[in-house]
């Protein structure tokens, strides 16, 4: 009888010794030794126990079990902060119009526009270049200014994407006939093969050199707006040939 017990004990020890599974029932994990010359088989719990110090709870939980020590710190803002965050606009065309009085124009007009670059490098007053960097039609809808479908940039690169004139323009017409707000603007031409550059977002304001839109006679207006962009160059936008829609 003793021999049978001994035999059973030996079998048990033997099977434990040659078992291919880890104590937690999982398969050993194959990895490469530190010097990369042989495979090392380790149980996951051993690995994590070695990685974590005594302060780190050892990771022996089963997959589907939740790690009960994890705590959720709910995010809670005060009503004022929450309101501010929810209304937070992180937009490059965001502009505060509250300091301006907008026109009370109720009519819709479609006009032509063209934009040229004005370079200040040699002449203080600037020298307009002889070609349009953008052109097409521009719509006045009440105080709102929108570029029309035919409007386009001619600066290559990203400017060829019509969405910049459609989605990244935030301009209003002031009660003194000036264009105010912000818009995507391309100051540098991107030639074929060059890495494109992002647009700039200059502020359009009531520039002292501008000739505003004649709000009493928009149809016959011939406006000229100066836009300060960079030290070396800005833009001049012409608006004319307006028709009432």
């Amino acid at each position: 009888m003793k021999k049978i017990y001994l035999l059973l004990a030996l079998i048990l020890i033997s099977s434990q010794s040659y078992s291919s599974t880890c104590p937690d029932g999982s398969e050993p994990i194959r990895s490469v030794s530190d010097d990369g010359s042989y495979y090392v088989f380790k149980c996951n719990a051993d690995i994590l126990d070695k990685k974590n110090n005594k302060n780190t709870p050892s990771n022996k939980t089963k997959n589907k079990n939740k790690d009960s020590e994890i705590k959720i710190y709910e995010v809670s803002f005060s009503p004022g902060v929450l309101d501010e965050l929810l209304n937070l606009v992180v937009s490059k065309t965001d502009f505060d119009f509250s300091q301006y009085k907008l026109t009370n124009n109720k009519n819709d007009f479609q006009c032509r526009f063209s934009m040229t670059r004005i370079v200040y490098e040699k002449i203080k007053e600037g020298q307009e270049e002889g070609w349009n960097i953008a052109e097409g039609n521009i719509n006045i809808k009440g105080s709102n200014i929108e570029f029309g479908k035919q409007a386009r940039w001619r600066m290559g690169g990203l400017s060829l994407d019509s969405s910049y004139l459609r989605d990244q323009v935030n301009i209003q017409l002031s009660d003194r006939g000036h264009l105010i707000g912000k818009m995507a603007y391309f100051n540098l031409k991107t030639n074929d093969g060059e890495v494109p550059t992002n647009p700039l977002y200059p502020i359009l304001t009531e520039h002292k050199r501008s000739t505003p839109i004649n709000l009493n006679n928009i149809k016959n207006t011939s406006a000229k707006f100066y836009i300060d962009v960079e030290e070396w160059a800005g833009a001049v936008m012409y608006i004319n040939s307006c028709k009432e829609n």
Partner: protein, 383 residues
């Protein structure tokens, strides 16, 4: 000759970022449409989680760090704050579309950039043990191997299946790129291969391949690509320069704060690009290690272990900070210097894969991370 006034901030913004897109379903591979998209922002150099998401409720934070915690952090709750660089991210938190995992990282403690970056991308158990990346393996399992849009193929996206590369490079005459060679190869191949080459041909000549190289533009481009039906399921954007051993700074204008602004811009770019596809998206950050809890002698921090992981996307419906906070007292630190990682970040990655690709956690744990007992923390993030 025009003057180009390039500020340091602008320079930093346009440097050190790369975009990789992958998981474009190949014809005949996709069985079912995966439920979402997964995007990874790799933060190389080791992001300081204690500055990004300061645990101001821990009394040892101010004792260990005199000048690294921003004064104008946003209080998320009574314990954690959010760095002021995260303007867009804070808005997402208010909208319940962003969360933070804190005191977390991959189970790697040797503080080497090379080994750490290899492990965070490879997802293996030892550095340099894997030839594929955890995201590539997950895409393989989801049967959506495909094209990586990159100059090189990052380890993170490498899978067992052959992926090819494409990157919207602005080479000379790319505007009139001839696709004759691609078309010839296309005609010479069987139907399956042919359609793939046609896709490459179409992609090569499409207008929106003109993309600026700044991280936010790359993210916007990636988002747009992923929003298209049949587009890539995954993207990776790499941002570097988080290794702030000296003059780290505390606020949004400091060296580390500027890097965090880049991350914020990337998340904003993704949101804009994804459009309606935002609702099914998840974006997560990875960093090879956190930084030492104590400030060093040059107003910076050194290589550490635990950090913070940022999650954003419409797949998150409740903003929270998830942590098993280990404490910042000297006795609580790993080797008396590092924040302990008490949540294995592989569990976070697994939860994001489960959400985006619809794979079972056990499968991910076993086949993607080679750790069958990897805890499932999906419910903490997505419930």
């Amino acid at each position: 000759m025009p003057k180009i006034n390039l500020t340091r901030r602008q320079f930093l913004k346009v440097s050190g970022a790369s975009l990789f897109l992958a998981g474009l379903p190949l014809p005949g591979f996709t069985k079912d449409e995966p439920p979402g998209t997964i995007s990874v922002i790799l933060l190389e150099g080791g992001m300081d989680g204690l500055t990004a998401v300061p645990p101001f409720g821990d009394p040892n934070l101010s004792r260990m760090r005199s000048s690294l915690t921003p004064e104008n952090y946003l209080e998320l709750n009574s314990f954690f704050g959010l760095h002021p660089s995260f303007k867009y991210f804070s808005g997402l938190m208010a909208k319940n579309n962003a969360s933070v995992i804190h005191a977390t990282n991959f189970p790697y403690t040797k503080r080497s950039h090379f080994e750490g970056q290899n492990l965070m991308q490879g997802g293996g158990l030892n550095p340099f043990s894997e030839k594929t990346g955890w995201l590539g393996r997950a895409l393989d399992l989801a049967k959506t191997p495909g094209r990586s849009m990159s100059l090189d193929m990052p380890l993170l996206l490498r899978g067992a299946h052959a992926n090819d590369n494409f990157f919207p490079a602005s080479i000379r005459n790319s505007g009139s790129l001839k696709t004759d060679l691609i078309n010839m190869i296309s005609n010479a191949h069987a139907e399956e291969g042919s359609s793939m080459f046609k896709k490459v041909s179409k992609k090569s000549t499409q207008q929106d391949s003109v993309v600026p190289r700044d991280p936010a533009s790359l993210a916007r481009y990636a988002g747009k690509a992923m929003a298209i039906k049949g587009g890539p399921l995954s993207s990776v954007i790499k941002v570097d320069q988080f290794d702030t051993h000296a003059s780290q700074g505390s606020d949004e204008f400091g060296r580390h704060g500027e890097r965090l602004t880049v991350v914020d811009d990337i998340i904003a770019g993704y949101k804009e690009g994804l459009g309606d596809a935002w609702d099914k998206s998840i974006i997560l950050t990875l960093t090879e290690f956190g930084r030492t809890v104590k400030e060093n002698g040059t107003w910076g921090t050194d290589h550490g272990w635990g950090s913070a992981g940022l999650l954003a996307g419409g797949a998150i419906t409740k903003s929270r900070v998830i942590s098993k906070w280990p404490g910042l007292a000297e006795g609580d630190l790993f080797e008396k210097r590092d924040l302990v990682s008490t949540i294995d970040y592989r569990s976070v990655c697994a939860a994001c894969i489960e959400n985006a690709l619809g794979l079972d956690h056990d499968l991910i744990a076993d086949k993607v991370f080679f750790t069958p007992s990897l805890p499932r923390i999906y419910d903490y993030i997505f419930s």
